[in-house]
Every structure is written in structure tokens, then in C-alpha cells.
Subunit: 348 residues, 2 copies
């Protein structure tokens, strides 16, 4: 979708309400105006009927359920914005469970004085991302907090997906011998946000990798024996590996040179003293499959634009359970450990 969200005009007259006021979260006339004139038109679907909750049709199969809040700063960045992120992020968490995303909830916490026009742009972006990923935003809530008690806007989404198969796709399914496959280069999203915030400039802007993953994961689940999938969000590749190693009580070995990193991302990481393997992504993931399925997995991934540089980066091997090691071309071995988490604040 390349639809320019700026081409939609804010339905609430900006000369009357240029800014969000406390009353827009108070449950009275202003709340209703916001819901009826802005939120419902942007997210249009039959479930938004003015009731406290949505009653959805019966779901055929198991359901997957997830939530995330989005506090990214800045709200707009190369390759995305907080609204798109709030849809893709939750859709991707459902995709990682092997589910088909169906329904979203949407909660806004808006700071008094936030630009009404910016709120509209975010809503339009959410609407476009929801249509693109085939989900419906069926229930929502808006709260307004006092000036200086927020930071523009925070968004929570939760999501419900349908699991159309009987496979268990989860960290505890990972087995010794499994191949570890990555869907593309790492560190774009985190370095995009950090370089915007720190005012770093490179030959070309680093663009976020934020992308919806449910299409490619659905195809994987149908065609190969997926043991586990994990998107590489906060904490990056290292956190994902160590979390899964911890739950599955396995040991992981990756080849550092096989992990793709864009040169601008590598440059930004060097300036800020960060390891790209710790940096967050919003459209990259790893897949664990038995060796027999590894090549087929790479092939399927590479047929999708968002995973065209997919490759095998490592193996679940024999070693200390719960740990992971990065090997390099010179025979060096580096034990991977989680960073504390303070280096990359508010990147999603």
C-alpha cells in the first residue's frame, strides 16, 4: 500500500478543535464526537456499533491472543509510524503463534493538547494497515491525560487470531539439530528510531523494516514442519535466541557472518556503541525447523519481498542448555548475553 495518508482530511473541524482536550476522553459529548466522526470512519466495520464490547462470530479452532503497547518516539519515522507499528506488531505476534490474525482492539492514551490532525493521520494509518493485513479493529477505548503526563500518544493493541491447524508452534518445541533461519537483515528498526532521535545522518536514511508477517508465516506453517518462530523485536536477535534456548533447554550456535546487517545500520551501531544483534526489528523473524525442512523454508521465505534475503544462520546443537554462542570466520566463539535493556529506550 502506498496510499498517502496525508491526502485524507481530518473530519473534526480543526478551527474548532485543533488539539485534543481532556473532554475527548471524558465519556460525554466530546468523546462521542471523536468516536463517531473520526475513529469509526477510519476503522469502518460492522462491529463498531457503540456497545461496550464486540460480540464476534464463533471461531473455528483454537484462538491465539496477544497484546502490546506502543510508546515509540518519534511517532513518525522513515518506513512507518506508531499507528502502522501498532497494527503490524500485534499481527506479527499472532503470526509467530502460527495463527491467522482476525480481530484487534485499540486503546489510545492521548496527552491533552495533542494535534487533532496528527491523531487523524495515525487513525488513517491504522485503518490502512488493518485492511492490508486483513484484520478488523472491533473494539476500542480513548483516554486523555493531562499535559505533561504523557508524550503525545501511546497506543495499545491486542489481537485475536485463529489457529487453523493442530501443530504446537512454541519455544518448547525446539529440538537439538533444528536449523535456525533468519528472514533478513537485522537492526533497521531500532537504528532508524535511534538515528532520528540522536540526529545522526547517513548517506541515506535508515528505513524501518516494519512489515506484516502473517502471510509468509501462514505459508510456512502449511509447507514445512515449523517448531518455533519469533519476531526479533525488543532485545533483538540475542534476546530471541536466549529466551527460546531458556524455555527449550537447548544450546544455540550461530555463525556471525551469516547474519545480514546493512552497512548504514552497522555504521549507526558503531557510533552508538551497540551490537546489531541486540537491536530491535519490526519485520524480521527467526524460524526453527528440522534440518530436512531447512532449504525449503529458505526458498519459501525468499519468494516474499519481506524475506528475500532469508538464510540459515545456525543450529540448535549440543552444549550448555539455555545458552547461545556466535562463531566467527576466524574460529572465535562469543557467548551471547542479554543486554540490560536501557540502551534502546522507546523504540516501539
Amino acid at each position: 500500500m502506498t496510499q498517502d495518508i496525508l491526502s485524507f482530511q481530518c473530519p473534526i473541524p480543526l478551527d474548532e478543535y485543533p488539539y485534543v482536550v481532556m473532554g475527548h476522553g471524558g465519556g460525554g459529548r466530546l468523546s462521542h464526537q471523536l468516536i463517531e466522526q473520526m475513529i469509526a470512519p477510519a476503522l469502518k466495520n460492522p462491529y463498531l456499533d457503540g456497545h461496550d464490547g464486540a460480540v464476534l462470530g464463533p471461531v473455528d479452532g483454537k484462538i491465539a491472543y496477544t497484546t502490546d503497547s506502543y510508546v515509540v518516539n518519534p511517532l513518525f519515522f522513515p518506513g512507518g509510524d506508531i499507528g502502522k507499528l501498532a497494527v503490524y506488531g500485534t499481527v506479527n505476534d499472532l503470526a509467530m503463534c502460527g495463527a491467522l490474525p482476525r480481530y484487534l482492539s485499540l486503546g489510545f492514551i492521548i496527552e491533552e493538547g495533542f494535534s487533532m490532525n496528527t491523531l487523524w493521520k495515525i487513525l488513517v494509518s491504522i485503518g490502512i494497515a488493518a485492511r492490508e493485513t486483513g484484520v478488523q479493529v472491533v473494539t476500542g477505548d480513548t483516554k486523555v491525560v493531562d499535559k505533561n503526563k504523557g508524550d503525545g500518544i501511546y497506543i495499545n493493541t491486542s489481537g485475536i487470531g485463529v489457529v487453523p491447524h493442530n501443530l504446537r508452534i512454541a519455544p518448547d518445541q525446539v529440538k537439538t539439530g533444528d536449523k535456525i533461519i533468519i528472514s533478513g537483515d537485522i537492526g533497521r528498526h531500532g537504528m532508524c528510531i535511534m538515528s532520528q532521535r540522536e540526529g545522526l545522518s547517513f548517506e541515506s536514511d535508515i528505513s524501518s523494516d516494519c512489515a506484516p508477517l502473517a502471510g509468509v508465516t501462514a505459508e510456512l506453517v502449511q509447507n514445512v514442519n515449523v517448531h518455533c518462530m519469533r519476531d526479533l523485536t525488543r532485545g533483538g536477535l540475542v534476546s530471541a535466541l536466549l529466551e527460546i534456548a531458556g524455555v527449550s533447554k537447548t544450546y544455540m550456535e550461530i555463525t556471525e557472518e551469516h547474519v545480514p546487517v546493512n552497512s548504514n545500520v552497522a555504521g549507526a551501531c558503531e557510533i552508538l556503541g551497540l551490537d546489531p544483534m541486540h537491536v530491535a526489528n519490526e519485520g524480521r523473524f527467526i524460524v526453527f525447523v528440522p534440518p530436512v525442512d531447512a532449504q525449503r523454508t529458505v526458498q519459501i521465505l525468499q519468494q516474499h519481498d519481506i524475506a528475500q534475503h532469508a538464510r540459515i544462520i545456525g543450529t540448535v546443537a549440543n552444549g550448555t542448555p539455555g545458552s547461545a554462542v556466535a562463531c566467527n570466520a576466524f574460529g572465535g566463539r562469543r557467548i551471547l548475553s542479554m543486554f540490560s535493556g536501557e540502551q534502546l529506550p522507546r523504540i516501539c
Copy 2:
């Protein structure tokens, strides 16, 4: 439940981390410590297994889905706290759809520097409220925002319920002739929060009415022909009546003297220039039933502690569609209109 949440000791050593730091939301080591040592133990259930989302068993029937964010200030108040509110509020929205609440998601947005011990108290309160209402918190997320970009803690919950019947319980089911029944006195929660915040003192503190409603609504749905239910949260009784009148294109007439208001609440409203019918509640609701079911509805309600003062307050009558009128004993008639919404900020 009268369990004193203060009797549980914070599992994270307070001399090491007396306050929440940015890293607790960064996806690294500190995030994991928070989840493993505090959040998982407080909310203990088999679904919290360290995956991005929870895969739940198949649901038999239609599902109800809702969300709310909680930004109440102060965080602790007579009769409740933000944690309890975040569970009850979402459980109640599901109850109003005629659903049995089953699963919750939980999203924290915490301000850097927030007391770790207070976070623990809130988590314990959430755990107790979840057990009390029979729901499981199966997925969650924690974000930390910079000092002065939040206000202690904001909480989002979403909820999934099961609809164990084929009735449609919704505003568009309300019909002319229906009786309007209220479950108890109004205005407690809003006036509890406002009097705490404004430093008003009365002979006795006003205690919030916050209470879980799914038990009594389940009994109602089994025994009477419920057309619609609505909890009287933000916007109070007037917003609820007007919203439902708007959707169902009906006209509502209530008798003002029949709407119960506690004398301390009435006093606080007078001081602050508020109409109790606009003030938020967290444990009161109205039910629309055909006249033949009205007495039975009142009887069922009165058997529950949380609705022992239930009574009929009005009728869906012939009149201007989408409007509501309050009649008084002297023959006066007052057209009800929504307030703008700025008078009662951050009461939930």
C-alpha cells in the same frame, strides 16, 4: 476477598531496584527479571509461558471482546486501586454483552522512577481480582517511558468472554415499553476519586462502588429476557441512556426520585457543581427488559450484595427518538443532555 495485598512482599529486592528504570521495558535482562520474578508469580497460570502470544483452547460459542485503558489518578482510593479497576472494568464490559469473562491481556505503561513496591501491590491486586472473577491473564506487555512522560502507571486490559447463548443483548434490541432497571445508587466512584483529588472531606469517606458484575449478569441472562445492559462508567447514567436511545432510536423517561444517590455523594456533587447522573460508576449498571420481566429482574438483582438496592427507574416510552427525559415528583420534566466531558478527568 479481603486479602490484604500489603502482606505480600515484593520479589525483586527493593534495595537493588527501588524504582522502575528504562531497562525494565527494554526487552533485555531487566525486562526478563521483571516478568519472571514479579509478573508471572502474581498472575500465575499455564498460559504465561514466555511466548509472544497465548494459544488458548477452542471456544465453544461466540466470543465477546473488549478493551479499556486505565489512567485513574490517584492510583489507590477508598474501595479499590487501578489494578482492581483494570480487571473489574474489562470483566464488566464483557458481562454487559451477556458473556462469561475468560481471558485478559494486560499492558503496562510505566513512568521511569515508579516505585517497584507499588508496582508489586498493583500486580497482587490484579492477581486477586482475576482469581475472584474467574479470568486468567494470559498475555501481557510492559513498556517504560521517560520521567515526566507518564504519571506513575497506566494500564490497558483487553478481555475475551464466551457467549453461552444465542440471545442478542445490545442497544439495538431495546424496544418501546421496556422497563429500565438500575442496580444501585449512582455517583460513588466518580465522587470518591474527585473528593480524594480535590481534598474534600465528608463525615465518612466516599468509597468507590467498583465491583465485578459478571455473576449477576449471568444469572439475569439465564432467567429473564434481557434486551440490553450497560454499566454506568464514564458519562454516568445520562450518557448510557442517551447512547442506547440513539442506537435503538427510542425515547427514555426516568423518574429522578427513583434514582438512588447516597447523601455524601450528593453533597460532593453539590460542592463541585456536578449532577450525579453524569458521574461515573464502576459497579452499577442498567438493564432493559420487557415489562413482564421487570419484577423478576429486580428480585434477582436484589439477591446480590452488589445490587441489593436495585429498582425500576423508568420506561422506554413514546417520544422523540434518541432522547431522554427525567421527570420529578412535582411534574417537572428535564431533557437530559450529555455533558462535554471535561468536568471529571481521569476517574478511571
